[in-house]
Symmetry: C2
Subunit: 457 residues, 2 copies
């Protein structure tokens, strides 16, 4: 096919961002602060610094500084896998027969397989700089745990990962990647923490949950000298670090002379979407440009489109601070048949606030439609996408098909967050015809989450 | 660290090779022809065309045309994952404390996880152009099968993969990637072929072998209208297609103004090494430049350094033509404890001929040393390498450490052929301390392969 725009655009190393962009600085209505669960008062720097390392606690609280320098050590390591390519999806456009122009920013070409490494490196760097011995975290599917293991290995920091037991047993490859990078991986619940022992005593046969793994990781961090807890999504500091995705995307589009009409990203906790849209939303907030911005959620876990904008716990175990966000309730458990990732009950406070103000849209997609899109994408574009990422592919394809009907030549940009090499069990179910659409759980059929009692701020 | 050369160098799309380079054209002593196993006479175009599609049979026989156009349809698809980066291994250099300058050409950033896609696309394209319905092949670990499934999906061609039964059962993820790309994957031996049924009758509990899978794939191709058999290594046509690796490497080095002293590649059947070194060896053959060129073999399967340069069967089943090559004998079975890939008994005729003339060296490495190198590389450079590829890493590190002793600032280039995401069982064995060095088999302790009776050409 004839082309003036290359299939892939890479920035030069010298064009890579030297600062993260802090979207909050341009927000008129600032995201509400995290609350101390004991006092229901905003978390102070001192309080946050007991859980997170101090520089990250500062970033969590900073809603006024628009640009924050990326330390040189982080920029150096970014060069091992960044800049990531901005891809013009010529093959997908042709397969769809659409006049739309589709681009995607591909974050999967690194060993963690996703964008998670962008924030893991930052969090490990600041922990090392503070002189800490190590960090603890939880992981479910394993992308975040892998990213953190890589970052800690690079900065020579101990890394303790609590991995949900069912994933630990079913995803031994993910576990081994983390161990290869020197992390210790403990199936959760475990006998290494008080909370783990308590849960095992009460439920000897449990296969674990993310909520329980978070509780163990937090206990491990706060009960050992020289350790802090780190988290891969939801937090404003994570959205800050992930702005490198959007900044590179915008720089590449500017080089090509392209202005997008629609920007699409999948939304679990919001780290990828928040990072991708940051500089575009900044222009929108400053009244310089307008874009349609779409968050894509799974039908089985519609935090934005079905949840309530209220203070809620970030974790099932209710040990973490409260965040004001769109939430289905911290006790929400997504449908068991759901294979597509993005299972988090809440959503980044930054994104929740923007959505509440009507600055972005939310849509939801069924998982069989997601895997149909994923398979088509894999066959024409070559990349086997992660199920999470494929939510954005599905929505982008749907927008492109609307353009086919109307004849509009819209420019669509979406975030392709990762690869699906460790998700073949879900693909197998789809390939065998055993995957079904969303089956509502009992929880889903109850009235929606109503907010916590006594926390209506 | 200060740098004038970027961490990663990508060619522009416009700088990507438009022709493959046929190294044979510059060889004074041409590689010996394939022989018909029935007549022991050189295979004719007609004979080869019964197994391979005609254009590929022509390429197999062409040892005079130096440059062969890459069809535009192939170049178009190459753009989905090429150009691949030439990486300056700054982090590895620093970790080793060597004055050597290390570069690697990374071929793993595509869904097949390796360089195999370069030839799979070519072979699928020519099959489609000839109007065939489909192709058949065998796969062991699954890299080649995955690459072929992707290529056939793109060119809308049926793809039948015979996968060694033990791999089919132990590597379900690889199998599902192939199925996602629309290939049918049959565990071998199977009841779908005469040879499969015969083997199952004689050995009901067998878990299969590559030799058996080849025999089934060849039978499936030759017994069905509109099908041909394809092979991912060893053949001269494959080395031709893989020259895209070396051409891109040389173009990138020329742009940077860098001339390598040493070029290193792992060697199984020879496709990656032959492709990487092609343009450099061409200069050497034409007397324009000199390079040290090193093939790295596993200690357990030293075709070049222990084998005999003689005619032998390419397959264990002895249904394929005879090739003149360094071989351990087509019945050779590598040590069962060997996890590192590169288990092929023979070696590309092109490379065998060059080695026989003293134009390249061969070295061998033990598997624990390979996994030590792989783990160190993963931690400092970020990429989790395939065990096969890690043989080249080990040898490159050893050369760089020699430079540390002598103080020489040599420039070393090696081929990093792929990623290890599907090889975590081997990494697990290493992480657990359960991996041992090469344990010689009974075969190894016998005198070396002596050549076939009556075939001393």
């Amino acid at each position: 096919m004839s082309q003036t725009i290359p299939y892939k655009t890479y920035l030069e190393e010298s064009e890579m961002p030297k600062q993260w962009y802090n979207l909050r600085a341009d927000m008129k209505h600032k995201p509400a602060p995290l609350l101390n669960p004991a006092t229901l008062q905003p978390m102070t720097l001192e309080e946050l610094s007991q859980v997170f390392c101090t520089e990250l606690a500062k970033q969590e609280l900073d809603d006024t500084t628009p640009y924050i320098d990326i330390p040189e050590e982080i920029r150096e390591y970014y060069k091992t896998y960044r800049p990531s390519p901005l891809v013009r999806a010529y093959f997908l456009e042709r397969a769809l027969g659409t006049p739309a122009k589709i681009y995607y920013k591909f974050e999967g070409n690194n060993t963690s397989g996703s964008h998670k490494l962008n924030s893991a490196l930052a969090q490990a760097y600041y922990a090392k700089k503070q002189g800490l011995k190590g960090v603890t975290t939880e992981t479910g599917a394993g992308q975040w745990g892998t990213a953190l293991a890589m970052a800690c290995s690079y900065f020579d920091l101990d890394c303790k990962v609590y991995m949900v037991k069912v994933s630990y047993e079913q995803k031994p490859f993910r576990r081994e990647v983390m161990r290869t990078y020197g992390a210790s991986v403990t199936p959760s619940p475990s006998m290494t923490t008080n909370v783990g022992r308590k849960i095992l005593e009460e439920h000897p046969g449990t296969t674990g949950s993310l909520g329980c793994a978070i509780s163990e990781a937090v206990e491990a961090a706060t009960s050992q000298e020289g350790y802090r807890y780190v988290l891969g999504s939801v937090l404003s500091q994570v959205v800050l670090h992930q702005s490198v995705i959007g900044l590179e995307t915008k720089a590449a589009l500017d080089k090509l002379g392209v202005t997008p009409d629609i920007i699409i990203g999948c939304a679990g906790g919001g780290s990828n979407l928040g990072g991708l849209i940051a500089p575009f939303m900044g222009e929108k907030l400053r009244g310089e440009k307008d874009y349609r911005i779409i968050a894509v959620e799974p039908a089985s876990c519609r935090s934005l489109s079905r949840g309530k904008f209220a203070y809620d716990f970030c974790d099932t175990g209710k040990v973490c601070p409260l965040a004001k966000m769109y939430t289905l309730g911290s006790g929400f458990i997504p449908s068991a048949n759901h294979a597509g990732g993005l299972r988090y009950h809440g959503m980044s406070t930054i994104l929740s606030t923007l959505y509440d103000e009507g600055l972005m849209e939310a849509t939801s997609v069924e998982q069989t439609a997601v895997f149909e899109a994923a398979t088509m994408f894999a066959r024409v574009e070559g990349i086997l996408p992660a199920p999470d990422s494929s939510h954005a592919i599905r929505a982008a394809m749907d927008e492109a098909l609307k353009c086919k009907e109307t004849g509009e030549e819209k420019t669509i940009v979406f975030g392709l967050t990762g690869t699906g090499y460790f998700d073949m069990v879900a693909y197998e179910r789809f390939n065998n015809g055993d995957m079904t659409d969303y089956i509502p759980t009992d929880d889903d059929l109850k009235p929606g989450f109503d907010g916590l009692p006594n926390v209506n701020l």
